[in-house]
Structures are given as structure tokens and as C-alpha cells.
Amino acid sequence: MTLLTPFIGIVAALIVVPLLLVLYILKLRRTRRDISSTLLWKSKTEDVRANALMQRLRLSPLFLLQCLLLLLLAAALMQPVLQGWTRPSSRMVLLIDQSASMQTLDAPDKGTRLDQAKRLAIAQVEIWQSGGFFASSPPEIMVIAFGQDASVRIPFTTNYGRIREAIESIESTDQITLLAPAITLARAFTSEQASVSPSENTQANTTSLVIQLISDGNCSDLGQLSLRKNETLSWIRCGNSVTQNQGMSAAGAERRNDDPTLADAFVALRNFGETAVQREVQVRGNGTLIASSAEPFTLPGSSGKGATQMPGEQKISFAPFKISTSGVLSASLLPEDAFATDNRAVIAIQEQQSLRLLLAGNDSALESLLNSVPGVLLEQISCQDFAKRVVADTNWTDSFDVVVSVDCDVPTLTGGRWLIFGKPPAIASLNEYGQQPRQAIRTWKSDHKAMAQSQFSDLIVDQAAAIAPNSDWTALLEGSKGPLIVSGRVGNASVVYVAFLPMDSNWPFQRSFVNFTWQCIEFLGALGSAVTSESLEPGATIRMRVARGCTQVEVITPNGDRVAQNPIDGEIVFGPLRTAGVYRVEYLNPNGKQQTRAVAVNLTDAAECNVAAAEQVNIPGAQLQPQSIGFATLAIWPLIVLLVLLLLLLEWFLYYQSTGQP
């Protein structure tokens, strides 16, 4: 039995019991008068006459009973709970957090939080298996490990050995923490098993779900959670709520335009602790130290608390360094703290590649623009020849990184990446219905990669195709009379369609034309990987295009595991990524040459990197306080209050027995 608020009860008992004693001692000393019978006397006291303060305490049954009542009430105030209470045949779900923050080295035995969580989970299972107070049989237990996604490690079972193995096999990830998928998964399994029999469908709706969460409580989706009526969630906390962490919030490197053999690198650092700390940063290229902070610098402490906490930030740029080939830069924050995952950041720099572009049709503005970009191999073709080649060879367009079509009739969209101006391609989902006259710009999707850093507010379109694309398309630019630029995927083709010709607008004279065209080509052709690879977050998926005919495609994880891949339509998909680090994609190109491309995966999620264990888990409608392992607790104070009421009745009975009143 555990007392939740022992102090309050002790204080109450120390006040009221002596008070009762005093009341009895100070009780009016009435003169004892023996009379023949009290039959005709009714108790009526007015305490008219003051009496001596102190009198001998008479240990009457009433006094002892009243003392007992007060002590019981004080005990109820202590909120005793009985551990070891569980409902027979109930089913328990163990949710074990395997997110990045669980790698923090602040467990009591200096191990990671995940190790602590696994120990706690096994101990919890052992207690459940031993049968609790009032339990007739051990509950069925399901183990779910969760980070950004959730997986059932073992479905409902009472087999202790298998449960233990499942718990011990849980490995750490560098993913962020999302609790909702785990609970959804638990619900799915619970209702699925409860409704095996069609006749039990109604019972499935009322199946109770008892969930034991073992985590540090840093879940970024708590605000979107809601527990159902028959669900119980309790939380066992791992880690320490005072653990402070410093880490990298961003890292990058870019080749210089004027000299591609040189690259600039920068890192952004943040400090979740309240106090400023001295740190040092080193950058290594392919294992060799190539840059470092000149001397230890001060990383300022955070400001604010709770939801308003703003970590202290510092950005550091390094002097340009020479890197002519592809490689991996690694930035390290020194010295390391309890949470090492965000102390390192990797940057994959790819070898410079030429971009193969096909320009179909004549547009002088586009032609001069594309010719001005270094590293671009531009081929041009007339619209008539283009239409013939497309029909003759459906794989022809896919051999280019990007196909730019200007007012050409595109009879069919073959595989590849298309930037189409003017006449709409023969795609039913675009729903072309004529021409739109002069129109201005209403809005644009500025967070799209092709539209970033561009202003379209001054764009006037004199004439454009009238289209009404369905929901498969994303409108990037909205004119006053309809969408003007849309993006979508049709079969194996990725398409950005501009519903007007640049020369039918004032666009060629605006900077947004240059920005859009180049960014769109980067977006379509993933040209960015030729300069610097984009960093992914753990939990994301690697989508990489390789040339058709490539063989022996393998993904090498940061742990060194090699995972064979089978490209589909020239694209490999690998993920979700479980750990941070450098993933390498190796393949033999059609020429038989070994190719390697690196993908950097870094944990930069602010919520995950703030590793201080939560004080409480706040979900809408409930605040979970950390509990120790054990059975679900049973509050005893209501039983005590019931006992007090019964004793009050007894006290009433004794009182009237002693006074002889009815």
C-alpha cells in the first residue's frame, strides 16, 4: 500500500487528535448525580457554569471511537492506494519508447533510457505474471515499440519468455516520438482480437484497454491524443527531468559557384539548458579534420520554461575548404553530453554532375536561360520531331533529367520529368476547357521547392489555357480566373504544367521567371544532389532516382548493413530511416561502373532533442503523473470513508445507549 499524500494526513492527525483530547480534557466537568432513574430526563445542556479547565480523561468507548474515526479520516487524507490491484483477465499493452531521446545516458545505472525502459518493462511483466492482488490469472500482454512509427513486438500473450525476448529485442532509433500511432495500433489489435467472433462485435466496442507507457514523456503529438472511455493509460517515466542537452539544429555545406572545388560549411547549435556552456565544434571531411572553431565558444542558455522555452542558439561558419570529389562532412560538438545523437551532423556532398535537358519547341527566353546555367547539357528539338520521337520510343524522355516542352502537342506523357509550357498535355485529369483571357495573380504556393524565393504578384498573364485539375494535382500558382501552374504525377511522369507561354505574359522580364525555371528544374531533376545533398530526418524515406539499367543496387546503412534494392521505374525507395548518419546507395550503372551516392540523415527535431524527461504527460482531458512499476492502484480512501460512516453509526448507537435516549 502506498500513501500518495502522507504529509497532509500526518499533519491532519497531529492537529485533530490532540484537539479531540483537549476537548475531552476541557470538557465541562459536570457534577455526577445518582438518581433513581433517568427515564424522564431529556439531555439538555447549556453549559451555564464554567468549570475547571483540566479534568481527568475518561477512556470511554465513545472517546476511543471518535479517536479512531479521526485517525481513519486522517488516513483517508493520505490517499492510500493499494498496489497490486488488477482486474482478472484484463489485457495490458506495454508501449516502450524507442525514440532518439531514449538513448540519453542518464538512467540510474548510467545506461541509456531505453535500457532502463526495458528493465522496467520486464520487471512490470514479471509482476503482472506473478498475479496481483485479487488477480485470478495473469493478464495477456502485448508489447509495442514506438518512435515515429509503431510496431507490435509481440501480440497479446501470457508467455513470459516470449514477452521478455520481445522486450529485449527492442533497439534504439533516432526517430522522433509520436504516441498516437502506437495507441492506434494497440486499439486495432485490441478490437481485432475482441471481435474474432461476429457475435462478440458489441463486446468489442466496450473492450477495455489498459496501456502502460514506458517513456521519458517527450512525445510531440500529445495534444492530438484523446483517450476513449474504456481506455486507461498510465506512465512509467525513464530518465531525468533535469538532464540538459546541447546539439546541432542544422548543418550544411555548399560548393561555391565561382569555384566548385571549394565548399562553405556552417552549423547551427542550440542549448536546452538554462545555463550557458563552453563548447567546441570540429568538422571532418572523410575522416580528416578540415575545420574547427577557433576556440571554445559560449553557447547561451535557454530562456523561458515549458511550452515557451526558447533554446539558446549559436551559428558558426567555417572558412572555405577544398573538396573536389564527393564525400561526407561530419560536424561534431565537443565535449559530448548525455545525448550524443544530436552532437553529430553529417553532410553528404555529391560529385558534380551534368544535367541533361531536352527543350522541345522554340522559346528564346527559355533557351537563353537554360544555356546560361553551368553544368547543363541542353538538347533542342522541334515540336513535330518531339511528337514523333515520343510516340516511337516511350523510354526516350526518361533518358533526360528534365524535358521542357514549350507549346508542343504532347500526345502521351511517357516516363520522365516534364516541365510543360503552353498547350496542355493530353491528360484527362487536367480538364482543359478552353482559354482564359488576361488575368492577374491571386496567390501562389510559396513553400513549394519550385516556387520558393519568388514573387509573382506583378505577373500579368495575357492568355492561358483554362484548366480545372482534379485533386491529384497541386496548384502552385493561382490566377484570378483559375490555376496557372500545377504540379502532379501521371503514371511514371512527374509534371509541372505552366498553363501559359512565357511570351504571353510579362514573366520573362521578372526575376521570378529565372528563379522558378531553375528551381523547377532542380525540383524535377533532383539536381540539388549534384551540389549538396539534402539532409533527411530519421523516420523519413530515401527516394532516389538512378539511371535505368543500373544493377546491384544496395543501400548501406550507418551500421554497415547492406540492403539490396530493386529500383522501380528508375527509383529506389528505402525507409523509414531508423537511425541518423550517412546512408550510401551503391549501384552499377549501365556502363558497369560502380556509383555511390550518400544521403545524410540528421536528427534536428527540437522536441526530440530537448531530452529533459517530462514532469507529467499532458494529454487532453488527463494529466499523467509518473508511476512506479506495479499493478494498477486501487484508491482505498473511499473504503475508509465508508468505514468511517459505519463507525459513525456505531458511535451514534453507543451515544444514545449511554444517554438512554431513544
Binding site: 465541562l28 459536570r30 457534577t31 455526577r32 448525580r33 445518582d34 438518581i35 433513581s36 432513574s37 433517568t38 427515564l39 424522564l40 430526563w41 431529556k42 439531555s43 439538555k44 445542556t45 447549556e46 453549559d47 451555564v48 457554569r49 468549570n51 445507549q657 449511554s658 444517554t659 438512554g660 435516549q661
Partner: protein, 307 residues
């Protein structure tokens, strides 16, 4: 404020029956409202025709009749034999039951002492008039009795028995009366002396006695402290302890409380009277402080218990 704490201290026979009262009692006899059949010839008329002093009737002579009762004057005038009939004088069964509960051992004068004095006086009257006197103590649901007393010479024995009795415990009035009623004491008069402050009630007990055909007389003795618990105007906080079950009542004796208690006592006594009337029981309430000699010689005579 006075409450009865005076315990019984009577130990001598003289205290029980004042010698100066004896000569007055010698002239008295008990008077029952009922014509009761005795067991032996006594000094009390009965319905039975026999050898008494009071003429009742004539009847024709029959063979075998005692010739001593032939009225020879009538024979001389009418030449026929008639027999004179007299009311036969028989003895009276007299049972005097005293409440022996602890509640009687209180008051000033002590109620138990007064009860025993009255019992002794009435018993003496019964003895000198050749009645069968039974003395009984009602205590703890039993009737402890001294039975079969008859004649003046048994006076001392009766007095010694009464002196030896102690008041304690409860009455158990109902059980005690039933026990008394079931005893083979014949028919007669029963005088029940007590305070009648009975939690368990008295009706059932009195009914059991009356149902046996006895002429029942209920004499309630209350102490002055019970009749008037407060004699000054000072308020006082007291804890009243019941002498029988030791229950306590905490009370502040104010004029209003005393008035309320008196009102309840009056109501209680009124109920007692009505109950007795309903059962055909004569009832009387007296103050233990009254002059019991005067009570015996005047009040009981006026009530028709003595003549």
C-alpha cells in the same frame, strides 16, 4: 437542587414498625373490594355460607343439618324447622410486593425504607386479622417471597425478613409479577409498592396480577427529589446517572428544564393512573416524605384499603 443519594440505613425492627403505631393498627383490618374465597376460617366475611357472625338467610331444615343453627323461635311460631344461614368468616390472602430495584434505594427519605415500613404496617394488619400474609420482593425479574404468615406471632418473622432485604439491580417488573401471579397463593389482595419508574413498563405485570382475580392495589412512592428536583434558582450542570442501568444524561438544570421534567412526570403518572383504572387496579401516589402513620391511618382508610 437536591437529588436522592440517601441510601437505606434501616437495620432495626423498631425502625420498621413504630411501637406507637402498633396499637392503632390493631384496630384496623384490610378491606377488599372483592368478596374473595379464603382457605381457612378467618375473621373476614365471605360469600360462603357458614359459621360466621353475620346473618345471611334462612333455609328449610334438611336431614343431617346441624341442629345448633335451627331457629327455634320460628319453629315455635310456624311449627316448621328452618335453619339460620350466616356469612362464613374466612381468611384473606394478602400479598405485599415491594419493588427491590436500585431505583428504590434513593431519595430522602429513602423510598425503599418507606416502602418497607408501609409493607410492614399493612402486613401487621393482615397478621393480626388472621389473614394469610405473603411478603415479596420484586427484583431482577423474580419475586422472592416469604409466604404463609398468619397470626400476630409471625410479626417478628415478617419484620426480620423485610429488614434483611436490599434494593439493587433492576426490577424486571413484568417477569416478577408473572412469577408472583403464578405462585399458588390463592386469591386475595395484592399490594404492589414501588416507584413505577420502569423502562420496561408496568402494564403487563399489573395485568398479570389482575387477571388472577386478585384485588390489586398499586402504591407508587416517589421521593421529594423526584417530585421537585430543583428547589433553588441556580442553574447547575450535572451528569445524572441512572441507578439501575448506569446510563448518563448530561443536563443543565434550568427552571425550564425542571418545569419540563415535572410536566413529563405528571404525564407519566397520569398514564399510570389511567392504566390502573383500565385494569381495575386501585392506585395511589405518595411522597416518601409524608407522615406514613398518618398515611396509614387516614389516607388508606379513606381510599378504602383499610377499615
Amino acid at each position: 437542587m437536591r437529588f436522592g443519594e440517601t441510601k437505606s440505613t434501616m437495620t432495626k425492627l423498631d425502625e420498621l414498625l413504630d411501637p406507637t403505631l402498633v396499637s392503632s393498627l390493631d384496630r384496623l383490618d384490610l378491606m377488599s373490594r372483592k368478596m374473595l374465597q379464603g382457605r381457612m376460617q378467618g375473621e373476614r366475611r365471605s360469600r360462603r355460607r357458614g359459621q360466621g357472625m353475620d346473618f345471611a338467610d334462612f333455609r328449610p331444615y334438611a336431614a343431617g343439618d346441624d341442629l345448633r343453627f335451627v331457629d327455634w323461635n320460628i319453629y315455635g311460631r310456624l311449627d316448621r324447622l328452618f335453619l339460620k344461614m350466616f356469612l362464613e368468616e374466612e381468611d384473606l390472602g394478602l400479598v405485599i410486593a415491594v419493588d427491590g430495584s436500585a431505583s428504590m434505594d434513593s431519595g430522602t427519605p429513602n423510598k425503599f425504607d418507606v416502602a418497607r415500613r408501609i409493607a410492614m404496617a399493612l402486613g401487621y394488619v393482615g397478621l393480626v386479622n388472621q389473614h394469610r400474609v405473603t411478603l415479596s420482593l420484586l427484583q431482577e425479574g423474580r419475586a422472592n417471597s416469604l409466604v404463609g404468615l398468619r397470626g400476630r406471632r409471625r410479626t417478628c418473622e415478617a419484620a426480620s425478613w423485610l429488614i434483611a432485604q436490599k434494593a439493587n439491580g433492576t426490577t424486571g417488573f413484568d417477569s416478577a409479577c408473572r412469577s408472583l401471579a403464578s405462585a399458588r397463593l390463592g386469591r386475595g389482595m395484592v399490594i404492589v409498592i414501588g416507584d413505577y419508574l420502569l423502562r420496561e413498563g408496568y402494564e403487563s405485570g399489573l395485568r398479570a396480577l389482575a387477571a388472577r382475580g386478585w384485588d390489586v392495589f398499586a402504591l407508587q412512592i416517589l421521593s421529594p427529589q423526584e417530585l421537585n428536583p430543583r428547589q433553588d434558582n441556580e442553574s447547575i450542570d450535572v451528569r445524572l446517572v441512572d441507578s439501575e442501568n448506569k446510563s448518563e444524561v448530561e443536563i443543565t438544570l434550568t427552571a425550564a428544564v425542571v418545569h419540563d421534567q415535572r410536566r413529563r412526570l405528571e404525564k407519566y403518572n397520569s398514564t399510570l393512573r389511567q392504566t390502573c383504572l383500565k385494569l381495575g387496579v386501585r392506585q395511589m401516589t405518595i411522597d416518601s416524605a409524608l407522615d406514613y402513620q398518618k398515611f396509614l391511618l387516614e389516607s388508606l382508610r379513606s381510599q378504602g384499603l383499610l377499615k
